[in-house]
């Protein structure tokens, strides 16, 4: 079996005001990939390409071993897709949708669907038009999850949900991963959700992938180092430091390649290190986008 559930290599797509360039995205089987980017970065375009909804101009796309968009019919049997802007039929009930999906996909798990109805606090008989935005998002997720697909592709699955619903969704996604043959790709600008449950993380900005690695390395490599300078001098340039904010004798240095040798090097230069701080994924993301836009190699 292929070791990647999703594999994009050198993928590009040109629009009049936007282009996606040289996208490389790999989701290992048995893992959750969090796909993070600001609005308009190319997250949804990338997801549409790997679903075969949009055809790439360049590059190779393989999903569950199938070449896309050519073999999309075969690939889609095992993909559960939910996106924020997915349209369900407004005048039909959730029950109608459930029976429809069940008739198309033999893998539909009715007892799991029942459990999800309860957990997501949804009612079968309710028409889609009568549902709140959050309920519609949950309905879309239920329809994708209850098929028990090998790959879940979720575009902003937690956007617009209240904290209770978000928590339930996160719980279901982590429960899915008890089976190591299944994989999830989910895009979000909610870095908190991604930080909690993702194994791998990819940052995208302005149509390009700006960073991609496993979550633990992300959190390990980025640090803020607070220092006190001995006098009216500048913080010396050290390898791995991507930015320094200095006011008076105090400075904060940011690194994306932390190593214990960094604070030691400061100490050796007569600079007192006050603290070495961890950064949240959100801080890492924002800093990463900032420096990549400024042209600093990160």
């Amino acid at each position: 079996m292929n070791e990647f559930a999703v594999q994009l290599t050198g993928v590009g797509k040109d629009y009049r005001f936007f282009s996606l360039n040289d996208v490389r995205l790999e989701v290992p089987v048995g893992q959750i990939m969090g796909f993070i980017g600001p609005n308009g970065a190319g997250k949804s375009t990338t997801i549409r390409i790997l679903m075969g909804l949009v055809h790439q101009d360049r590059g190779e796309v393989r999903v569950l071993g199938h070449s896309m968009p050519k073999k999309q019919a075969a690939a889609k049997r095992d993909i559960g897709f939910a996106s924020e802007d997915m349209r369900l039929y407004g005048s039909s009930t959730l029950d109608w949708h459930m029976r429809f999906v069940r008739s198309v996909y033999p893998s539909w798990d009715e007892s799991y669907a029942q459990t999800l109805l309860k957990r997501f606090d949804l009612r079968r008989e309710q028409r889609i038009t009568g549902m709140s935005h959050g309920q519609q998002v949950k309905a879309g997720l239920l329809l994708a999850l209850a098929r028990r697909p090998r790959l879940l592709i979720l575009d902003e699955p937690t956007t617009g949900l209240d904290p209770v619903a978000r928590h339930e969704v996160i719980r279901e996604l982590t429960a899915v991963m008890q089976d190591d043959h299944r994989s999830i790709l989910f895009s979000s600008h909610n870095t908190h959700d991604i930080e909690q449950i993702s194994d791998q993380i990819t940052f995208i900005d302005r149509g390009r992938i700006i960073d991609c690695r496993d979550k633990e390395s992300f959190l390990d490599r980025w640090r803020r180092i607070r220092v006190e300078l001995p006098g009216d001098v500048d913080v010396p340039a050290l390898p791995g430091i991507i930015g320094v904010l200095q006011t008076g004798r105090l400075a904060v240095a940011t690194t994306n390649a932390f190593d214990v040798s960094l604070p030691r090097a400061y100490e050796a230069a007569g600079i007192r290190v006050h603290a070495v701080e961890n950064m949240t994924l959100e801080e890492i993301f924002v800093t990463n986008v900032h420096y990549s836009r400024e042209g600093v190699a990160v």
């Binding site: 893992q31 008890q178 633990e216 007192r272 961890n278």
Partner: protein, 132 residues
């Protein structure tokens, strides 16, 4: 085995460190005995709603410390050692002392003063009965 772990979102420490600490405690208080099977990595990840890679990392560190043993394909068990609890508290003491030393450095407090204050702290934690 149910872990009964509760992770803190407001705690500044990374999730994997929190998991390590909670496993250590379970072992230290004797809830998890030598030879007992730990929850599988995927089970604990689902239980705590964190990523598999985070739990994997915590287990790797615990293995390195010798607190657990991992048999490939069979899961992880608590290592057969009796000094697990002692080792945990020993480790904690080291951490606290290091922190104290660091803070003393930040505040510019002399070694002599730190020693004196540690002595005071020890005196204060002694049971009241032995005081005159």
């Amino acid at each position: 085995m149910l872990s009964g772990f509760v992770l803190s979102q407001a705690d500044g420490r990374p999730m994997y460190l929190q998991i390590i600490e909670q496993v250590r405690r379970r072992i230290a208080v004797g809830d998890w005995k030598a030879g007992e099977l730990l929850p599988s990595i995927r089970q604990l990840a689902a239980d705590l709603q964190v990523s598999v890679i985070t739990v994997k990392r915590a287990y790797l560190e615990l293995e390195r410390e010798g607190l657990i043993l991992t048999h490939h394909g069979k899961g992880s068990v608590v290592a057969a050692r009796t000094d697990a609890a002692t080792q945990v508290y020993e480790q904690e003491l080291t951490t606290h002392l290091e922190q104290a030393a660091h803070l003393a450095g930040v505040l510019g407090i002399s070694t002599r003063e730190v020693q004196a204050r540690l002595r005071d702290a020890i005196e204060q934690t002694k049971p009241a009965a032995v005081k005159p």
